[in-house]
C-alpha cells in the first residue's frame, strides 16, 4: 500500500465507511495533502465502496475541499453580494497585480493560490478574504498589499 492508500484506510477506520464519513475522510486527506487529487478520490471511492462520481460531486460542492493542487497559502476572496458592492473588485485587482496570477491560479513558486468563495459571514466588515484559516476584513487595495507583503517577507520572498 502506498501512502495515500494507507492514509485513506486509516481515516476510514477512524471515521467509518458510511455516507456521513465521506466528509471527514475528505477533510482528513486535504489536511495532509492540501488538496484532493484524482487518485485520492478514486481511493476514497474504493475504500468506501461508493461511486467515484459521487465523491467528486461532494468534493466540488464544498469550497474548502480543493480538487486542484494549491500553493502554501490559499487566498479566498469573498465574491458574495455585500463584498462585491463594497469594493471587492479593486481588492482582487490588487492581489492579481501583486502576485501576477489570475483567479484560480497558483504562483509558479507554489506559495499562493487565488480563489473565490461564498459569503464568509463578515459582511458587516466587507470586503473580506481568507488566507488559509485567517480572516482579513475591511480590505482596501493598500491594506491587501500590506498583508501580502507580510506573508512574502515571512517566506523570504524578494519583492520588486
Amino acid at each position: 500500500m502506498d501512502p495515500i492508500q494507507t492514509l485513506i484506510k486509516d481515516l476510514a477506520n477512524k471515521h467509518g465507511r458510511t455516507k456521513e464519513s465521506l466528509l471527514p475522510i475528505m477533510q482528513g486527506v486535504v489536511e495532509r495533502e492540501s488538496y484532493l487529487s484524482e487518485r485520492s478520490m478514486v481511493e476514497i471511492a474504493r475504500e468506501m465502496d461508493i461511486p467515484a462520481a459521487d465523491v467528486y460531486g461532494t468534493a466540488t460542492f464544498y469550497s474548502f475541499l480543493e480538487t486542484k493542487p494549491t500553493g502554501k497559502y490559499i487566498i479566498r476572496v469573498c465574491k458574495t453580494i455585500t463584498c462585491a458592492m463594497k469594493g471587492k473588485t479593486q481588492v482582487l485587482f490588487a492581489i492579481q497585480e501583486m502576485l501576477k496570477i489570475k483567479m484560480g491560479e497558483t504562483t509558479p513558486d507554489k506559495r499562493f493560490t487565488l480563489l473565490e468563495t461564498n459569503c464568509l459571514g463578515w459582511c458587516h466588515k466587507a470586503p473580506a478574504m481568507l488566507i488559509n484559516d485567517n480572516v482579513y476584513t475591511e480590505l482596501t487595495p493598500e491594506k491587501v498589499r500590506e498583508i501580502l507583503s507580510g506573508y512574502m517577507k515571512q517566506n523570504g520572498i524578494n519583492q520588486n
Binding site: 484524482e38 478520490m41 478514486v42 471511492a45 474504493r46 461511486p51 467515484a52 462520481a53 459521487d54 465523491v55 467528486y56 460531486g57 466540488t60 460542492f61 480538487t67 461564498n118
Partner: protein
C-alpha cells in the same frame, strides 16, 4: 382496500386512494400539470418547480409532484397566481438555456420547448446569462453527446443512472450558479464507467443528452452507387418505431418498416432476428456444453452460471464492475455483431459482392450498440463488421426526411438470405425473451420434445418484475443428453442494471445456484432501450411488450432451430454450432476495465 380521501381540484370533487400526490390526482381527473424533473420511472426530486399548484390556506405554492393529497384539500391548478409563477420559472430556466431550437437535435420533441410554447414565452424579462457561462460539449463518445448549454439541471439523468442502472456515472458537481451535471473529474463520458446504455438520453427532457447520430453518413452511403448498403433491424424496433411516426404505443409496424427501408434506398433489407435465431443455436449449444463439462466431466474450470451476452450495455457494465466474472459470459457475440461478421463473408460470397463494397447499417433500439460496433474485437470479417448503427429514433428521422407517409405504406417482407426469422427471435426484444428462446430450443435438443408450456409460451420468465427465476426439470432426455435426466435447470432473468447488480452480487458471493442468467441493461429489455422513442415509461414498455409477444404468436415458425435460413447457413457455411468458422466469426472476448 386502501382508504380513500376526498378533495377538490379546481372546484371539482375528487376521490383518491391515500398516498397519491396532487400530480397523480390531477392526472386522474384528466388535468395535465406541467413537469420537468418528474419522470414516472424515477424517484421524486421536486427541484424544478414548474408543477406548482395553489392549495387553499397555504401562502406558498406547492410542487404537485412532491405533495401528497390530504383530506379536504382544495387545489387550484390553473389560477392566475399559478400560471404567472410557472411562467416565471420557465423564463428563468430559459435565461440560462442556450435556446437555439432550430439547431437542436431535440427540436420538436423537447419538454422545455413544449412548455415554452404552451406558455408563450415571447419576451425576455430577465438578463440573459448564457454568454456568461462556460458551457462545454462532450462529443467524444461513439454513443452519446452531452451539451451542458441545453441542461436544465433537473437531474433526471443522474437519478436514471443511479436508480435504474446502478452505474452512477453522472453526478451533480459544484453548487449555485456553477452547478452542473458531470462525470468523475469532469472526464469525457467515454473515459468513465458509463455503459453507453442511453437510459439517461431517454430520460432527459431536453437536448442536453442525445445519441451521437450517423444520419448523414448513412445517407451518403445510400447515395454512393458503388456501395451495396445492407440494413438489419433489431426485434424491438418494429414495436417502437410507430410511436415516433405518430402511431399508438404498441403498434406493430414490421411490414411498413421494411417497406420504408426499401424506399429509403437500402439495397437489401434484412433482419437481426435471423442472427438472434443463430445466437440461440450457438448459445444454447454453449450452455449444454458447459453443463456437460461441469456435470459429466467434473471439470471445475467451467464457469457457471452462464450469462447472456447480447446486451452491450450489460457487457460494458460487467467489464467495469465484475471483471473477475468475465468467464461467466457466453462467448457469443450479440446478434448485431454476428450479423455484421456474416454480411461481409457469407452474404458477400453468396451474392457475389466484394466485402469492401458493402456498407452494413443496423437499426437498433440501443445506443450501446454504437459503441459495440466500434470495439476493436468487431472486425472479424476482415473489415469493420457493422459500419453504422442508428437508433429507432434516427430511423424515424430518415423516414420523415424522405417524406414517406408511413401509415400509407403497404407491408412488405424482409429480403431473403438472412431475412428469415422465428418467433423466438422476435422476443429477444423483451426482457426474458432470450431465456425463453433458448429454453424452447435447448429443451427440445435435450429431450426431443417441445417445452412443456402451452403454445410454447414460457410465461414464468415473462413480465416486468426486475428479477425473475424459473426452474425447468429435464425428464427423459434423448441418449446423448442422458446425464441431464432429472436435472433442474435453474434460470434467472434480470433487466435494468440495478437488478443485474443484485444478481451479480449473489453470483459473486456464491449464493446463486443458477445455471443460466439473462441480463439486459435496459428496463424492460431492448423494447425499453436507450435508443427507443421518447418518452418511454412503465405503461409504454408494457404495450411494447404485448406487441412483441403478439408478433411471436403470429409467426408460423416459433423456434430458432427451425429457421430454414439458419439451417442452410450451417449446411453451406458454418457446418456446426461452436464449429471452427463460428468460433472465428461469431464468438468474442471481453476486456477487463477499471471500476473507478
Amino acid at each position: 382496500m386502501s382508504k380513500k380521501i376526498n378533495l377538490t381540484i379546481n372546484g371539482f370533487p375528487v376521490e383518491i386512494e391515500t398516498g397519491k400526490t396532487i400530480l397523480e390526482a390531477a392526472e386522474k381527473q384528466g388535468i395535465k400539470i406541467p413537469t420537468l424533473c418528474y419522470h414516472k420511472d424515477l424517484c421524486v426530486a421536486g427541484n424544478c418547480r414548474v408543477c406548482v399548484v395553489e392549495v387553499a390556506g397555504q401562502k406558498r405554492l406547492s410542487a404537485a409532484c412532491a405533495t401528497p393529497c390530504e383530506e379536504g384539500m382544495e387545489i387550484l391548478t390553473n389560477s392566475l397566481k399559478v400560471r404567472n409563477s410557472r411562467k416565471h420559472i420557465i423564463e428563468l430556466l430559459l435565461t440560462e438555456h442556450n435556446a437555439d431550437c432550430t439547431k437542436c437535435y431535440r427540436n420538436g420533441n423537447c419538454e422545455l420547448q413544449t412548455l415554452a410554447s404552451e406558455y408563450k414565452i415571447m419576451t425576455q424579462d430577465f438578463i440573459e446569462l448564457v454568454p456568461l457561462k462556460k458551457y462545454s460539449i462532450d462529443a467524444y463518445s461513439p454513443s452519446i453527446m452531452k451539451d451542458d448549454s441545453k441542461c436544465i439541471r433537473c437531474q433526471r439523468c443522474v437519478r436514471t443512472c443511479a436508480e435504474l442502472q446502478g452505474v452512477n456515472a453522472l453526478t451533480v458537481a459544484h453548487k449555485g450558479d456553477e452547478m452542473k451535471i458531470t462525470t468523475f473529474f469532469e472526464k469525457h463520458m467515454r473515459d468513465v464507467v458509463c455503459t453507453n446504455c442511453g437510459q439517461c438520453v431517454n430520460h432527459c427532457p431536453t437536448g442536453a443528452l442525445v445519441e451521437k447520430n450517423y444520419i448523414e453518413e448513412v445517407w451518403e452511403a445510400i447515395a454512393d452507387p458503388k456501395k451495396h448498403v445492407v440494413v438489419q433491424t433489431a426485434p424491438a424496433v418494429r414495436v417502437g418505431l410507430g410511436e415516433e411516426l405518430g402511431l399508438q404505443a404498441g403498434s406493430r409496424v414490421t411490414g411498413q418498416m421494411v417497406a420504408a427501408l426499401k424506399r429509403l434506398g437500402f439495397d437489401s433489407v434484412l433482419d437481426t432476428d435471423f442472427t438472434a435465431d443463430l445466437t440461440i443455436m450457438e448459445e444454447g449449444t454453449e450452455l449444454l456444453t458447459r453443463l456437460k463439462k461441469a456435470l459429466v466431466d467434473k471439470d471445475d474450470s467451467v464457469e457457471l452460471p452462464m450469462a447472456t451476452s447480447c446486451s452491450p450495455g450489460w457487457i460494458k457494465y460487467i467489464e467495469h464492475m465484475y471483471p473477475e466474472h468475465l468467464g461467466n459470459l457466453s462467448t457469443c457475440k450479440s446478434p448485431q455483431q454476428m450479423f455484421g461478421a456474416l454480411v461481409k463473408t457469407y452474404y458477400a460470397k453468396a451474392r457475389n459482392l466484394e466485402p469492401d463494397s458493402i456498407v452494413s447499417v443496423s437499426i437498433m433500439p440501443c445506443t450501446a450498440k454504437k459503441f459495440e460496433a466500434f470495439r476493436p474485437e468487431m472486425y472479424d470479417s476482415g473489415y469493420r463488421d457493422v459500419d453504422y448503427v442508428l437508433t429507432t429514433r434516427e430511423l424515424a428521422i430518415l423516414i420523415k426526411q424522405a417524406g414517406l407517409d408511413f401509415d400509407k405504406l403497404q407491408p412488405v417482407k424482409f429480403d431473403r438470405l438472412m431475412g428469415e426469422s422465428s418467433g423466438a427471435a422476435v422476443i429477444f426484444g423483451a426482457t426474458g425473451g432470450v431465456m425463453e428462446a433458448a429454453l424452447r430450443t435447448a429443451y427440445e435438443i435435450v429431450t426431443g420434445r417441445e417445452v412443456p408450456f402451452e403454445n410454447l409460451n414460457i410465461t414464468p420468465v415473462r413480465g416486468m418484475e426486475g428479477i425473475r427465476e424459473a426452474t425447468i426439470k429435464i425428464e427423459d432426455p434423448v441418449e446423448d443428453w442422458a446425464f441431464l435426466d432429472g436435472v433442474e435447470l435453474k434460470c434467472a432473468v434480470a433487466h435494468g442494471l440495478i437488478n443485474a447488480k443484485t444478481v451479480m452480487d449473489e453470483v459473486k458471493s456464491g449464493k446463486a445456484d443458477y445455471h443460466f442468467i439473462e441480463f439486459m441493461a435496459c428496463p424492460g429489455g431492448c423494447l425499453g432501450g436507450g435508443g427507443q422513442p421518447i418518452p418511454t415509461n412503465p405503461e409504454i414498455r408494457q404495450k411494447r411488450a404485448e406487441a412483441i409477444y403478439a408478433e411471436d404468436g403470429a409467426l408460423s415458425i416459433r423456434k430458432s432451430h427451425e429457421n430454414p435460413e439458419v439451417l442452410k447457413l450451417y449446411k453451406d457455411f458454418l457446418k456446426k454450432p461452436l464449429g471452427e468458422v463460428s468460433h472465428h466469426l461469431l464468438h468474442t472476448k471481453y476486456t477487463k476495465r477499471e471500476r473507478y
